[in-house]
């Protein structure tokens, strides 16, 4: 539940924050460079970094541990020969495949295997996994086919179990959430979750708000079969569709102390045979919509938490940049 006091992160976090991607000569190049920066950040953490299981640069491919997407030129999009990469999160064993089978680098198919089962693949087709869940087809993962300067923030827990990516372009242009669910119910044997979305444009999209995961089951999970999840959040009243969530109803600092709330989020499944509350998000909170990207907490300048859209995450003490 929403706590009155500043929360203490459950994880120790590593940060590759405020990475700048300037506008280049082409939208495709800028978009590709952003992806490469994210990918390299995931690989580059000192503790429990992500690893590459395999890749394709549209010329050669293999699940051989080779990262062929060495720079933006190797992000080749399209329905024929194209790029893909399989990345493995060490703390959970989950794998994701980023498959550039869309019209441009701003689109990709993103699939997750909680058991790390991606296999196969060629220069024209991504690997697949028996337990894969995800977008199914190419979707927006960034700000659409635009050429906009971005700040890239990648957070990865030191145990390798949880990762957040925020690509900011004055809006939340891309949001990645991968990792272990907190307090997962015991029968959920592989409590790994994944969500990845893009704004699809240069104005705030659905991913700007906690509602992206609250209104729709946009979190991928797997328990014997696909088990898409919603988040829950503290609220009051039952007058649906009137807004009842706390972040919206108390869209301000509280009147007693003048402090803002961090709202934790639970995870529920409404899939037949898998219904129930099964866990919660770790170290990711919903904040009041009134807060602005780049706001930080607490108010003493220590910048232990940063705000991006309606999301609040642990932070590394630097000024969080949003463009």
């Amino acid at each position: 539940m929403t706590m009155i006091v500043l929360p203490k992160p459950e994880k120790l976090w590593q940060f590759n924050a405020n990475q700048l991607q300037t506008v280049t000569g082409s939208a495709a190049e800028t978009q590709a460079r952003i992806f490469v920066t994210v990918k390299n950040s995931l690989k580059g953490f000192g503790l429990a970094p992500w690893t590459v299981k395999g890749s394709s640069d549209a010329a050669t491919a293999g699940l051989d541990g080779t990262d062929r997407i060495v720079d933006f030129t190797k992000v080749v999009s399209g329905g024929g020969n194209h790029s893909w990469i399989v990345l493995k999160q060490p703390g959970t064993g989950l794998e994701i495949v980023c498959d550039f089978n869309g019209a441009g680098p701003y689109l990709m198919t993103i699939m997750m295997s909680v058991n790390g089962l991606f296999t196969g693949g060629s220069i024209s087709a991504r690997p697949t996994a028996a337990d894969e869940v995800g977008s199914g087809s190419a979707v927006h993962w960034l700000y659409g086919n635009n050429n906009v300067q971005a700040r890239i923030h990648v957070l990865h827990s030191s145990d390798g179990q949880n990762t957040f990516v925020f690509v900011m372009a004055n809006i939340v242009a891309s949001l990645w959430i991968f990792g272990r669910a907190g307090d997962a119910v015991a029968p959920w044997l592989k409590p790994s979750i994944g969500a990845l979305g893009g704004s699809a444009g240069i104005v705030a999209g659905a991913i700007e708000s906690f509602r992206w995961l609250f209104d729709n089951a946009n979190i991928a999970a797997y328990e014997g079969a696909s088990m898409p999840l919603f988040t829950t959040i503290e609220g009051f009243g039952v007058d649906f569709p009137t807004e009842t969530s706390l972040p919206v109803q108390i869209d301000q600092a509280n009147n007693i102390t003048g402090e803002w709330y961090f709202h934790p989020m639970g995870l529920i499944s409404n899939t037949a045979g898998k219904k129930g509350r099964h866990g919660r998000l770790i170290d990711l909170w919903a904040g009041a919509p009134t807060l602005a990207s780049g706001d930080e907490f607490p108010g003493d300048g220590s910048k232990k938490f940063a705000v991006f859209g309606e999301w609040i995450v642990p932070w590394n003490g630097s000024a969080p940049l949003v463009a």
Partner: protein, 313 residues
């Protein structure tokens, strides 16, 4: 969902038969509080009145209702809670099946005055919203299930009856919240409600209305129970209303309290040792699933229990 564990030690007065009349319920409710150590600051039986420490409610005949004119009232004081006081004022028409007394609290114990025709007042009083405190079937008896923390800071009482499937006919909560703002004083709330005249269940009314009296920044407010919920507004345990498919366990979730009053907006804290559960869970179900009966489910509420078999009617 929350793992059931007790933060407090509790004293119990449960499965108590109080008869089938609303006045019998009111009398038993008052006596329950006295059994838990509350004292009477004063009372009226419509013939005599005074804030003199005398309990004039000896029998149901002393609980006289009158919407205008001489009537009964009582002020009860919790010595363990900085002398916080609770008022019951029978200034309404009596019905055997349902009663709507004025009720409220003075967190600082400031009720004064009163006569056989008018209740005491307090400068810091907060009055609960109008509505029956119980609505039940007079063809069957009421059971009262009450518990108070050993430190006296939290008092809960629930009435059950055959009137409804979920059996729950009244909710009373009084005392402190946990996980509060240190700056929120007084940390004292109260609610007493059992009105389902609109056809909703007691738990649905309790979760969808501002029924809890509190004071924030020197002013009375009515606050809302808060809870983890899904996008359609229902608390999670209610939305699924069934055991978790993966664990086969009934859900239960902690309950907070929120004020949405302009200039007094705040999440105030959390009820201790009280959870919302799935309304479909059979009333009287106990947890864990062994014979220890450490917790009981009553009409959407889960509370600590004393190991006995809960009897709901």
């Amino acid at each position: 969902m929350a793992f059931l564990f007790r933060e407090k030690n509790w004293i119990f007065q449960v499965n108590e038969i109080v008869g089938a009349d609303a006045n019998a319920y009111i009398l038993a409710f008052k006596n329950m509080l006295k059994n838990f150590g509350w004292t009477v600051k004063g009372s009226s039986n419509s013939v005599a009145a005074g804030m003199d420490g005398i309990d004039r409610w000896a029998t149901v005949a002393n609980i006289v209702w009158n919407a205008a004119g001489a009537h009964s009232w009582i002020v009860l004081r919790n010595p363990a809670l900085n002398g916080a006081e609770f008022l019951i004022d029978c200034n309404d028409t009596f019905f055997s099946a349902d009663v709507d007394p004025d009720r409220g609290m003075s967190p600082s114990g400031a009720f004064i005055g009163g006569s056989i025709t008018a209740r005491p007042t307090a400068i810091d009083e907060v009055i609960c919203p109008a509505g029956d405190v119980i609505r039940h079937a007079t063809s069957s008896q009421i059971r009262l299930h009450s518990l108070q923390s050993q430190d006296g800071k939290h008092t809960y009482s629930f009435a059950t009856n055959l009137f409804s499937t979920e059996r729950l006919r009244s909710i009373f909560v009084f005392g402190q919240l946990e996980d509060t703002h240190a700056a929120w004083t007084p940390n004292c709330i109260c609610a007493w409600d059992g009105d389902d005249s609109t056809g909703v269940t007691i738990i649905n009314r309790f979760t969808s209305s501002a029924l809890v009296a509190a004071r924030i920044l020197g002013e009375p407010v009515l606050a809302w129970p808060s809870y983890e919920h899904k996008v359609d507004g229902r608390f999670v345990a209610d939305f699924f209303n069934a055991p978790n498919d993966l664990t086969n366990e009934w859900p239960h979730q902690p309950v907070g309290l929120v004020s949405n009053t302009v200039n007094r907006k705040a999440k105030l804290g959390r009820f201790v040792d009280l959870w919302f559960g799935a309304p479909a869970c059979t009333p009287g179900t106990t947890f864990p699933s062994d014979a220890s009966r450490q917790f009981a489910h009553i009409g959407g509420i889960v509370i600590p229990w004393n190991g006995t078999v809960p009897v709901m009617s």
